[in-house]
Each structure stands twice: as C-alpha cells, then as structure tokens.
C-alpha cells in the first residue's frame, strides 16, 4: 500500500509561489494556489481545472510551507476519479491500463516486442546472476518512436559489461502517471503486481529508462530494498570509469532538455550532461531555463494521454523556439515523454529530438 502522502493545505499561507512556478498558470485556467485555497475552504472546483496539471512538481519543490500542492491536485483528481468525472481520453488510458497494464491498451503479450530490434537475447531477470532488472515502461515497450530506447540502452549496458534481465510480459505499468491521474486503486494494483514479480524473481536492482518509472519506483513503491537508478546514472558511471568509451564523433550542437521527473524532482542533472560531453565533437548547449528551472514539456500528469482544451503556445513549442535561438541542431533529453512532446514542433522547425541513448548508440 502506498503510504498516504499527507498534504498540508491548512498550513498554506497563500504566498503564490506555486502559481508563479507553474508551467500551466496564466495561459490555462489552472491556478494551483487557488485550488489549494478552494480545498482549504472546501469550495466547488470546476471539473476541468485539475486536469491541466502536468505534475512537473515545481510547486511542491518550491512551496515554502511544504503544502505539496501537486499532491493536492492528485487528491482532487482522486475524488473526481471516484466520482467518474474524468476526461474520456484519460478514462480510456485507465481502462486500458486496467485491462492490458499499459495506458495505450496495447497487448500485454507484446510488451517485449521491442527486443526484435536487437541482435542478442536478453534473459528473463530470474535467469540473471545479478538480478538486475531493466524496467522498460509502457511507452518504450509499445510506441514505435520510443521502442528504440530500450534497445539502445540494452546495447549500451551490454557494451559496458553489465548483466541485466527483463520481466517481459510480466512487467506492468509502473503506475506513476496512473497515480498522478488520481486512480489510486489502480496504482495500488499495479504496484502490487510489480512488487510481487520483483519479489518472485528476487530482483535486487532496477535500471529504469523513463524518469517517470524511476520516480514512482524510488519514491512511491515504499521501502522495497531494491536499488533503483535511471540508466543515465549507470551509463555516466560506466563512462567515468572507462567501461565504455564513445569513439565516434558527433559533430553537432546539442541542447539538453531536463525532464522534470529526472531533474527537478530527482536531482539528476549532471549525469545526462556527463554522457553528452563525453562524446567527441559534440557541442553541448544549455537552455537559459535549464536544470532546476527547466521548462516542463507538458507530457506528465496524464497529459500524455489527453490534451487539454486550450489554444495556447505549447511549452514544447516554446522549448523548440528557444533551442533554435541557441542554434542547436539536436535537442537531447532523457525521457520518452519529452521525446514525444518535443518531436512534433521540432520537426516543424527542422530540428531533431534524440533520447540520449540514441546519440550514444550512434557513437559507441
């Protein structure tokens, strides 16, 4: 069971830092401070509003009173989920997750289909000595654009001499987004299912591909005793200790976009950059809004599955314009959701979005 993260709405002093931090405030009707206020007074909340939250976490990180506004949003959503007041697209994602254990409703039987791209076999984690699990995550198991990521990371880890296995069809959605959508019951089921699988196969260590999985496994699965890392942490270390050396050259100007769940929320800023700077001829640029103040791409908090009714300039587009201004040729990131949201506007501007593992695989 997930330990209930108690929010502290009553301690809110209405300083407004949350709204000022929020990537959705101003351009959408979403005002997180106001929602907290309404929660304080138990006032009626417009049903459409809580769904704008991208769960980037900036409000919670910056709240001086530890009110945890992003958790307040989850609480509001939970209530709405229980009442069934939930956008249809999200409803579909939840129902799909219920049936197929992934929000896209893709066949669970094809959860390991990404391996077809590999020229080597990855054993089931139970067959490994290290009991080190590569946790693939739904989007990377199914989306054709993202399926290359597990394949690339597998190649890189193998090159670095690391043993690992997968759960294959036994893996269920990590539930990070499900919890953020407010479906706590479903989240618990996923958590139980995954934990049971971890336990059954004696998993000792988990390498995640998506920062979203890492976040939930690390922070919201309770004390599992399992070491959880993002693959960039592992790979950066491999590069540092010489286990792998990027040999090829990548003569491009690359700008790195910090994913919220990797950076802001989990403090992993340097490892992805270390990987990129280890590549010959790669010129690493920085957004003026980077690291802790990186702009959210709006892919989190369920926003991957549905888009709000709003006509405003999307953050992904803002991001791409910023990248173009810095004369970047490639936008690198370390999160599949960021890849998906950034790619569309990037293509329009003639820029390329690459997950870090894609760049590394190219030069390995």
């Amino acid at each position: 069971m997930l330990e209930q993260l108690a929010t502290r709405v009553t301690t809110c002093i209405q300083c407004g830092r949350c709204t000022g931090s929020c990537p959705e405030s101003g351009k959408t009707p979403f005002n997180v401070r106001m929602l907290v206020r309404k929660k304080q007074f138990r006032s009626v909340i417009d049903e459409a509003v809580p769904w704008y939250c991208t769960s980037c976490g900036a409000c919670t990180i910056r709240c001086p009173r530890d009110v945890k506004p992003s958790e307040v949003i989850i609480e509001l959503r939970s209530k709405m989920v229980e009442d069934g007041d939930i956008p249809v697209a999200l409803q579909k994602a939840l129902e799909n997750t219920f049936v197929q254990k992934n929000p896209w409703g893709k066949s669970r039987n094809k959860r390991a289909a990404w391996m077809e791209k590999l020229d080597f076999e990855i054993p089931h984690v139970s067959e490994t000595e290290s009991k080190r699990l590569l946790f693939v995550c739904c989007i990377q198991a199914y989306d054709p654009r993202c399926m290359v990521i597990p394949a690339n990371v597998a190649k890189i880890l193998k090159a670095g001499g690391m043993e690992f296995g997968i759960l294959g069809e036994e893996e269920a959605c990590c539930g990070n987004e499900i919890r953020r959508i407010g479906e706590s019951g479903l989240f618990e089921e996923l958590q139980e299912e995954n934990l049971a699988a971890f336990k059954e196969h004696g998993v000792k260590e988990i390498v995640t591909l998506s920062p979203h999985c890492m976040n939930v496994l690390k922070k919201e699965y309770g004390d599992t005793g399992i070491k959880i890392s993002h693959y960039t942490e592992i790979v950066a270390e491999m590069i540092a200790n010489g286990a792998i050396t990027p040999r090829g050259s990548y003569g491009k100007k690359v700008i790195y976009h910090d994913p919220c769940f990797l950076g802001k929320q989990n403090g992993i800023f340097d490892e992805p950059r270390a990987i990129l700077t280890s590549v010959k001829d790669l010129e690493l640029l920085e957004f003026s809004r980077s690291r802790e103040v990186s702009l959210c791409c709006e892919g989190g908090g369920g926003r991957m599955f549905f888009e709000v009714e709003a006509t405003y300039q999307r953050n992904a587009e803002v991001r791409i314009l910023d990248a173009a201004e810095k004369e970047a040729e490639v936008i690198a990131t370390a999160c599949p959701f960021c890849v998906m949201t950034l790619e569309d506007p990037a293509t329009e501007k003639g820029l390329v979005v690459r997950e870090i593992s894609e760049i590394l695989t190219e030069v390995l």
Partner: protein
C-alpha cells in the same frame, strides 16, 4: 424449401444498394429468389428476383420488426417456409432479422460476408474481423441470415425475365411500437465520428490560406474535413474537427490523410478506419505504416488534380 426470401432494405423511398448483397447471396444459394418490399416507387431492377412480393403498407410499417412477423406469416402461408430468410446487416435489417428469428424459432447467422457453396457454410466475422467462423444451421429448417454490405454484390445474377409480382394486401399493425418521425442529426457542427469519409489535413497544408481549398475538395468528394492537432492548434479548423487522442477517435470507411506525418497521438485516433489513404511528400512518414494506400507527392498538387478529375 424451394426458395430464398429476401426482405428488402428500404428507407425513405430508396431501395438501397445494400440489397444487391442480399440478391447476390441469394444467387449463390441457387434457389428461387423472392423479394419482399413495401409497395411504392422504389427504383429497382426487377430482373434480379424471381418474384417480388409487394406489401401494401407504409414504409414505416414495413420496417417495424413487430409487423414483420405478420408480413412473413403471409408469405409463408402462400409459399411455405423458405430455405433462407435474408436481410441486410443494416440498422433495420439486423433488427428485423433477430426479431423474426425469435418469433419463428429459426436459427440466425448475422453479418455474413462469405458463403461456401460446396460445404454450405456461412462465413461470419468474429473479434472485429480478426477471426472468421464458418457457420452452419443445425438441422434443415429455415435459417435467417444478414449479409454484410459489399460482400456479395458481384454475385448478383440478372434473370432473363422480369420478376412476377405478388401482393400482400393487409398487414396487421402491432401496437407495441410506432414510428413518430425521422430526425436529421443535429448539425450544430459536423460530428466527424459519424462521417463515412473523412478528408483529414495536417501540418503539411502549410498555412491557413490553403484551408478553404481543401474544404472545397472535401465538398467535391462529399467528404467531411478534419485535421490533426497542429492544424487545430493554429485555429485553422475548429476543435471539433480534430482527430487524435486529444480530439476525436474516428472509424470512417475511408480516411484520406493529406499532409499528416502520423504522430502517434494522431494514429491512435484513426487507425481503426476501414480504409486509410495517406498522401505525404515524405516517403518515410510513419503514417504510411498504418495506411492501406499511399501516395508520395505534394499534397497541393494532388488536391488540385483530384478537383480537376472529379469535376471533369
């Protein structure tokens, strides 16, 4: 069992094309073909059946499944029970077929899209066409079937003579259900999920000024214009026209995508369309992986050419 009885699919005075499928399977079944239609000015080729039974009743009465029992009883009374009772797999056909099967205790096989004459088995879709079942009625009694539109048209055999005409004079009208009126669907804005043919445009249209000319093409082709997110985001088309996870999920018969590269969210909203045709100048565009037909070309040129040919 010497004949096949077809219940005609009619609506608002029109003898629909779908009847050709009923006539087609009847030809395959190889027995005399009887066609039951309401009396009225229906345009049809009367050489397709051996006999046409004209029911002297209003079309609405004919289409009410509760009345179908009485009509059929009168046919059976005159000719005995048919070998097969054929309906179109349409809104009314399927309704009346089921009701009739229940009423007379006939076996029923619906949505038939094939018939193996040798083995006498009907092919019926299962699991959204992922599997087909070969079905056969138990026993030798009459069997109700509904046929899938477009499945048997080619098998229609024109008879060498005009069908003989019979009539049913009085139909007992059931009280349980009465027709009130036809309702055109509300047209405040077009519901793209209901359209059979969508012409969908994407980022590839380039700019807003091009939109009217695609609207024009949609008009010419009698398609409904829809769009992918970038087009909606830029307010070139109203939000209600958006196809994709953030817009509507559509399953038209034909989805003609022009200048849409095929973002994942978009694909999710249209992949179940019966027929997807993609036009894009980028041969590598992901949409081609989902399309049934593809054209690699400049979409504006294709647009102009289509208009030109269609108008000619």
């Amino acid at each position: 069992m010497s004949y096949t009885l077809i219940v005609a699919d009619v609506r608002q005075g029109v003898f629909g094309e779908a009847n050709l499928d009923s006539l087609g399977i009847a030809s395959l079944l190889g027995k005399e073909v009887y066609l039951v239609v309401p009396e009225g000015a229906y345009e049809m080729n009367e050489k397709m059946a051996d006999a046409v039974v004209k029911v002297k009743a209003a079309e609405e009465v004919f289409l009410n499944p509760l009345n179908m029992g009485n009509i059929l009883e009168q046919v059976f009374g005159a000719h005995g029970k048919p070998g097969h009772l054929v309906f179109c797999h349409s809104s009314s056909g399927a309704e009346s077929a089921a009701y009739a099967a229940g009423l007379f205790g006939f076996p029923v096989i619906t949505d038939v899209s094939g018939y193996d004459r040798e083995r006498g088995v009907f092919l019926k879709s299962y699991y959204s066409d992922k599997i087909f079942g070969e079905f056969k009625a138990a026993g030798d009694g009459p069997c109700v079937i509904t046929v899938r539109s477009g499945s048997f048209r080619e098998s229609v055999l024109e008879k060498s003579f005009t069908a003989r005409v019979e009539a049913i004079e009085n139909v007992e009208i059931a009280a349980g259900r009465t027709f009130i009126e036809y309702v055109e669907e509300e047209k405040s804005d077009i519901d793209i999920t209901k359209a059979e043919f969508l012409l969908s445009v994407g980022r590839g249209v380039g700019n807003q000024d091009e939109i009217p000319s695609y609207e024009e093409l949609a008009g010419t082709l009698k398609a409904v214009l829809s769009g992918s997110r970038p087009v909606i985001d830029k307010l070139w088309l109203p939000k209600a026209r958006q196809v994709g996870t953030s817009g509507k999920t559509v399953k038209p018969k034909v989805y003609l995508a022009m200048g849409i590269s095929g973002a994942f969210q978009h694909i999710a909203g249209m992949k179940d369309s019966d027929c997807i045709i993609a036009v894009n100048k980028d041969a590598e565009a992901p949409i081609f992986q989902y399309a049934h037909y593809g054209i690699v070309a400049d979409i504006h040129k294709v647009r102009d050419k289509l208009k030109e040919i269609a108008k000619a």
